[in-house]
């Protein structure tokens, strides 16, 4: 190292400026810590900005009988009881307070007629519960938090990617990264580090997620020795766009089905009738006529004795149904199925689904008030993540904390819509405070080990210096292809074993990857480090999926199609790095549930 590396000393370093990272930074700042906030893209562009539907909190403004107890039960049932019950409890209890706090920082939510925050219904929630702003709730949330953080004077390091965590005698004590604009390295010394880097969607070729979702936090934590749990649970949203190719995977909000959208296959058959689980069939309409009556009543907010249409089955079930129709050759021309809302009055559709109308009009030349959309499943969210302590967000490594989508445990085997945004706020705040407390108790100042810095530095330089080798885009294509075909909605032992072998192969290719043409804003070079993380995360997903020999929530095994409560109902999968550097996968018993919480689950357990 010829010249000294740019170094910043902070008490708490927050990696990631989405909802979770921003909320954690604000909490740590409020607790008196000096905070640094790092993000890969510009401030305010994090993935949270894309969230549409709303954030779930039992405010009880629309349904007065809603309570944290009901929200807790909905979350646990939705998560197939794999959730960390303490997290689900804290989430349900604290979400209302966090949402109100957002309003006091300037968020402008839609209103009820008596002037309070409006809430909308969503799949899996017993009551209308999602505080929202039209269909751009995430934007409102990130803008509010961003303005708050900026007005508090929190230091933000934009377009700066962290590639390594640095550990010392007292645990994690810093991070190494580079500025994307210049490619120059930067080092942070910190008494505590919070990971809030979001998800892993980029491992798949069809995804609703952005390029940022390369599982950096998962991989950084794994490399630092932390445990990842539940990695086999990747949520596939049933309705993403499938055509034109450029927008494949782009989300088609669940609200389309909520408003009465009907799914049909190539032959015009409303195939969801064939996929309703037998034990739940009674909750759904029996005929087209009854379903239509429900839609009519719902659009006028009137009570009805009709039961809901079959399209409103759970996300995992609808995804599987669409997948099977397509696989059996009954799909639409571009490999999806038809989602039709055009039988409703055009004005009504435009008013209820403004951004969907625009999205199809502008990107696909489809007028959804006149004809059907083509949709298919798309990778959406990862339930699995870094194992954390519910109270403080502490991981299994001292000094390292995690919150948001990259933390695991809160959502179990399947996340309910709207529970993520409130998760970001609740556990962002807790984790920020936890990290600040840890930093306050840190003895002395962090010591940055020069050996680790040099390793990190060399790693950055190598792809630039190699004279030949393939570029990282080729690896990305093959990785996405592997994950999409072998570790998708339906999984088998053979496919997963094959995937693990291919990933090992990709890792070997990665070691020889080349990225010429300098460091300054060179996406080909940046991609190299994203790929390393993605390969690690993909392996964790594949290994966890191979281990869990049952079908539960978002994880479906063709060779083990049933729920197996005896063998798998009581454990989380755990992945961690063995002392020889290989990935080790195992299980650990679920976090125990207090009796009074168990009682809340009632018949569900």
């Amino acid at each position: 190292m010829s010249e000294p590396i740019e170094t910043h000393a902070v008490d708490v370093l927050v990696i990631g400026a989405g909802g979770a990272g921003l909320r954690a930074a604000i909490a740590a700042h409020d607790a008196g810590a000096r905070v640094g906030l790092v993000c890969k893209s510009l401030l305010g562009k994090a993935h949270t900005v894309m969230a549409e539907g709303g954030m779930a909190a039992a405010l009880g403004h629309v349904a007065p009988d809603d309570s944290w107890q009901v929200h807790f039960r909905d979350t646990m049932v939705g998560g197939k009881l794999l959730n960390n019950p303490r997290m689900a409890e804290l989430h349900a209890k604290e979400a209302p307070e966090r949402v109100r706090e957002l309003e006091s920082w300037g968020a402008v939510f839609d209103r009820t007629t008596d002037g309070r925050i409006l809430q909308r219904p969503f799949g899996g929630h017993s009551h209308p519960r999602l505080a929202h702003v039209g269909d751009r709730t995430g934007l409102e949330m990130i803008r509010t938090l961003q303005d708050r953080a900026v007005s508090l004077g929190i230091d933000v390091f934009m377009e700066c990617t962290v590639t390594r965590l640095i550990s010392g005698a007292h645990g994690i004590c810093g991070a190494y990264g580079y500025w994307r604009t210049t490619g120059r390295p930067v080092v942070f010394s910190a008494k505590a580090v919070v990971l809030a880097t979001g998800g892993i969607g980029r491992a798949y070729s069809v995804t609703s997620n952005s390029w940022e979702y390369s599982g950096d936090g998962h991989a950084l934590a794994y490399d630092a020795g932390a445990e990842l749990i539940d990695m086999e649970f990747v949520q596939f949203h049933p309705t993403g766009m499938v055509w034109p190719p450029g927008v494949r995977g782009l989300l088609v909000t669940e609200a389309v089905r909520g408003e009465g959208g009907i799914l049909r296959n190539r032959d015009g058959r409303r195939f969801m009738w064939d996929y309703l689980p037998e034990d739940r069939r009674g909750e759904y309409a029996a005929t087209d006529e009854e379903a239509e009556r429900w839609v009519r009543a719902a659009s006028r907010s009137q009570p009805t004795d009709a039961r809901r249409p079959p399209e409103l089955s759970t996300r995992d079930n609808v995804s599987r149904a669409i997948y099977q129709e397509v696989r059996d050759g009954r799909g639409s021309p571009h490999g999806g199925v038809f989602l039709d809302i055009s039988y409703l009055p055009a004005d009504h559709v435009r008013q209820k689904l403004p951004s969907m109308y625009d999205q199809f009009k502008e990107l696909a030349d489809v007028d959804i008030t006149k004809g059907p959309m083509e949709v298919g499943p798309t990778t959406h969210y990862v339930m699995g993540g870094i194992r954390v302590d519910a109270e403080t967000g502490a991981t299994t490594v001292a000094g390292l904390f995690a919150a948001g989508e990259c933390a695991g445990g809160m959502h179990g085997g399947n996340r309910l819509g709207g529970n993520s945004l409130s998760d970001l706020l609740v556990f962002g705040a807790r984790t920020g405070a936890g990290a600040a407390a840890h930093a306050a108790g840190f003895p002395g100042t962090p010591y940055l080990d020069p050996v680790q810095l040099r390793v990190a530095e060399r790693e950055l330089g190598e792809p630039l210096e190699r004279l030949d080798g393939e570029d990282a885009y080729a690896i990305q294509r093959d990785l996405q292809e592997t994950m999409q075909t072998l570790v998708g909605i339906y999984r088998t032992e053979a496919d997963l074993t094959e995937a693990i072998a291919r990933l090992a192969d990709l890792r070997a290719r990665w070691l020889a990857v080349r990225a010429p043409n300098g460091r300054a804003y060179n996406p080909g070079w940046n991609l190299v480090f994203d790929m390393r993380n993605l390969i690690t995360v993909s392996e964790a997903i594949s290994r966890s999926a191979r281990q869990r020999q049952e079908s539960r929530g978002a994880h479906s095994r063709v060779d083990y199609p049933d729920l197996d409560d005896r063998a798998w109902g009581g454990v989380n999968s755990v992945v961690h790095r063995a002392s020889d550097g290989t990935m080790e996968v195992g299980t650990s018993p679920l976090v125990s549930m207090r009796e009074e919480l168990r009682a809340l689950l009632g018949g569900a357990h």
Binding site: V49, V150, P244, G246, E362
Partner: protein
């Protein structure tokens, strides 16, 4: 299209054009042939030529031509991605969502400031090369990426949301009608296209800074908040220099969120500034009475202690006095 490929070896189809000769034709035919060899399957269909601005700040910049196979529904950002994956892995482009939601992918396509993820190739004339340039009003970094940090610096100078100190959030009530205006402003995705196109920022060197349309929109969202207590008019006039805007509406023309920036944010703010500084009636009043008349602006609060919304109130007169009863302290003047 798997397996190793050397950038610059195959698939790379580059013609260097001097920046001054933007319109000079430059052999896309040759370029097309090179691509064809690399990607036979796709080259069967139509191709588009993208003339992309390349280079690093401080060095010579140039336009390079890339022949890109056109797929149905392709947007300019897809074409740029194709170039990254097949011809120039180091092509610097900012993007995140690819769904017109994050405001990262701003650039100038054929001279028009646009989101590249929302600009369809089918809407452009493919017979000619499509020029893609970075946002020209900001300092250049590399290729299509510019340094927009100045915008964030401006944002920090705006006094944040300032609710009344003595009213807890649980007491706040307001109607959807009160916030419809604000929600339009809050749709902003901070793409900075309006800042880019605004001629004050683009073509003029002013003596004093101009905050730009994006931050006029943000300030409007705060000033018109039913419960906000701050008065940002001195800031708008003296520091943000709202007077530099000559309401020529280019910002409104480019806004991808279709915010009526000029009509709904800037002009109403100019009127609010005029309320305080240029109103002839108030001026006459001051001359006659030696003091400023009370302004109604900001003196009412949409708060109904005990949660009584105005609609629920039996006597229409009563809620007016209720509101008056909870008048906040005087508006704060100039932010520190």
């Amino acid at each position: 299209m798997t397996g190793p490929r050397q950038p610059g070896e195959a698939g790379r189809a580059v013609t260097v054009v001097e920046p001054t000769e933007v319109t000079a034709a430059s052999g896309p035919a040759t370029a097309g042939q090179v691509i064809e060899a690399a990607v036979p399957a796709e080259a069967a269909g139509a191709t588009a030529t993208l003339r992309v601005f390349r280079g690093e700040a401080g060095q010579d910049t140039r336009f390079e031509d890339f022949a890109v196979p056109v797929q149905e529904g392709m947007v300019v950002l897809d074409a740029l991605h194709w170039i990254q994956g097949n011809a120039a892995p180091d092509l610097a482009v900012r993007w995140n969502c690819k769904a017109a939601k994050c405001g990262s992918c701003s650039a100038e396509v054929n001279g028009h400031p646009r989101l590249t993820c929302k600009t369809r190739l089918s809407d452009l004339d493919l017979a000619e090369p499509i020029t893609v340039e970075p946002m020209r009003s900001f300092p250049h970094i590399r290729d299509l990426v510019t340094d927009v940090s100045w915008n964030y610096a401006v944002n920090r100078t705006i006094q944040p949301f300032t609710p009344p100190a003595d009213l807890p959030q649980s007491e706040w009530r307001w109607q959807q009608a009160d916030i419809d205006r604000l929600q339009e402003f809050r749709k902003c995705i901070e793409c900075f296209l309006c800042q880019d196109v605004c001629h004050v920022l683009r073509s003029h060197e002013t003596e004093r800074p101009f905050m730009g349309p994006r931050y006029l929109v943000r300030t409007a969202g705060l000033e018109m908040h039913p419960i906000d207590q701050a008065d940002r008019r001195p800031y708008l006039k003296e520091l943000g220099n709202i007077g530099y805007c000559n309401i020529t509406k280019c910002c409104t023309e480019v806004c991808p969120e279709h915010i009526a920036i000029t009509d709904n944010a800037i002009i109403p703010l100019k009127e609010r500034v005029a309320d305080r500084y240029y109103d002839p009636l108030r001026w006459a009043w001051r001359v006659l009475r030696g003091r400023l008349p009370e302004l109604p602006v900001g003196r009412e609060l949409p708060v109904f202690p005990g949660g009584q919304p105005p609609a629920a109130s039996a006597d229409p007169q009563a809620d007016g006095s209720e509101a008056a009863g909870t008048s906040p302290p005087e508006r704060r003047d100039e932010p520190s």
